[in-house]
Symmetry: C2
Subunit: 334 residues, 2 copies
């Protein structure tokens, strides 16, 4: 049985999801000869830590009741101190994305890599801003940095390319990287409502980012696109290199005109040799990239197997946690 | 550098494709620290073998000119003798599918496993008929049996589930497993032609199986479905367990009626707890399973990340060879 000690930094929706999936899949994980032990969780205001391992179900219960501070192991010790001093194998960084500074994720990840821990993250900010700095830091220290959950959540993208496409060169990637704007555009197309009506409905459903401009201005999609560009296409780009047009100026008339001609308007991210762009584009009505609602869809153009598409939910607590766990398991197994 | 000695059994479209991809990707393969050496090729009428390795480009050139028998190393030695006696690490079995007997693939695979060779195959017959017998024989002898190319060619299915979906349980699989019937149904839908007209066009394009009933009666799709059912859903089924209805009774009127109601008719294979069936089904016009032309599409229902879809070309020489190579590399690396 291989023992893997994990520190969870960030205990919001994704962090709790990771705890839930660890509990749900306890038996399957053990079957793979892995003993994944949680040493604790760090939040903005303090932490619950035990170097021998915390009781996962108990920590989760306190957190779900909003009473993590009442946990017997609670202290106000700060995440950065814990990350650098704890005896963990893997730091799981799942704090919220900040696309301007990358913080606090950026410091968390660098501190983990500088103190000899592998890193698994769902946080787009640090990767979209400082991809190669982080990757090179990890390589320098012979550590792994994995980020499957950062793009399209549970939908496999990096794992698909690395573990299933093998000798294929990826010539371009194109797709729908943001479920909220896709929901809005689908509403406008199918129900012929205005942008503001569709946006209001998305907000009501709670599927918008904390800051709704992240979605509608294409910021979230651009962050994901630049991670794909760097990781899969080996470009050396940063977030600000992405040409970005959001959906905020899409009118009902434009959607209708597209519809009358057999097209849909979709917010498409595309990376190829000469393109790094997020913008609204016309897609034929019957086409693998015309997916409805909150679905995400990615097309990989390859040299051996032509175009392949992968489609699925690009968000969700358990979905994202599933991707985080896949990274933990991959690191543990190697 | 790890040395991998490969024997190619079958040197038709797929076998030649494997040789082409090996040549095309020589540098990338070496970069992965692998030296894949071809010890020779076996055909129905004889073989070209050199235990020290044959010159790939030369063998391919003779074969492409239809002059393999003139190759200096040509002999009439039979495949089964060579498989059992040669000092190869991996036997690549890429002879044509026979869904009644599984032969000659079945004997080739069993002989390879009985003489200590790993097996990579694109041949659906042996797997659709004797899946567990072959898998258990491989396990008994601590050998690998891999068959990514047998279902949907280059489109990753088994590799996707094993190497990218990790902890996810697959609850059901549903999809379009045969490109030729999908081409025919797409023609009938889009151009409103009859079944026989669409079939004639498919034949002209050379995309039908040698025996066209393999496609239109759903035989090819059923063979793939039962491999998915066994491999991914751990069922113990054989080809004859699949309930099978082809597209041979689909009329223009039925297609038109579906179209008028916003649907398309697709030949769908489905495996779930209580279903193992290939049959024409109605799919909504905008749906990830409504793919056009010769595309294949698969939906995996999972417990963690919901429904995911993978779409791409389900046939083609280089595509199939790409999947065969992915299996060779995976075996070589472990």
């Amino acid at each position: 049985m291989q023992n893997v000690k994990v520190l969870l930094v960030g205990f919001g929706v994704v962090g709790k999801g990771v705890a839930k999936v660890l509990l749900k899949k306890e038996r399957e994980i053990r079957k793979q000869n892995l003993d994944i032990r949680l040493l604790g969780v760090c939040t903005k205001s303090g932490s619950v830590i035990d170097e021998k391992g915390v009781k996962l179900s108990e920590v989760l219960e306190f957190a779900e009741k909003g009473r993590l501070k009442e946990h017997p192991l609670w202290s106000q010790k700060r995440a950065l101190n814990i990350i650098s001093s704890i005896n963990a194998d893997i730091v799981v960084e799942v704090t919220p994305t900040n696309i301007e500074t990358g913080e606090p994720g950026l410091s968390h990840i660098l501190t983990a890599l500088n103190s000899g821990k592998h890193v698994v993250t769902s946080n787009k900010g640090p990767l979209a801003l400082k991809f190669w700095e982080l990757v090179e830091k990890a390589e320098e220290n012979h550590l792994k940095l994995r980020y499957e959950a950062s793009v399209c959540s549970g939908l496999p993208t990096f794992n698909l390319v690395r573990n299933a496409l093998y000798l294929n060169n990826i010539l371009s990637i194109k797709g729908i990287l943001n479920g909220t704007t896709n929901f809005i555009l689908t509403k406008m197309h199918e129900e012929e409502v205005s942008l503001s009506t569709a946006m209001a409905e998305a907000r009501e459903m709670g599927i918008c980012e904390a800051d709704p401009t992240y979605d509608v201005e294409g910021i979230d999609a651009a962050a994901k696109l630049v991670i794909l560009a760097n990781s899969i296409m080996k470009m050396r780009k940063t977030y600000s290199d992405v040409e970005r047009t959001g959906i905020n100026e899409i009118t009902s008339e434009a959607v209708q005109l597209a519809k009358n001609n057999g097209y849909v308007i979709k917010l498409i991210g595309e990376v190829s040799k000469n393109t790094l762009e997020v913008a609204p584009r016309l897609i034929p009505r019957v086409h693998p990239l015309n997916v409805s609602g909150t679905l995400n869809a990615l097309m990989f153009k390859t040299d051996l197997i032509n175009d392949i598409f992968i489609i699925g939910k690009g968000a969700g607590q358990i979905e994202t946690a599933s991707a985080v766990l896949s990274d933990i398991i991959e690191i543990a197994k190697n």
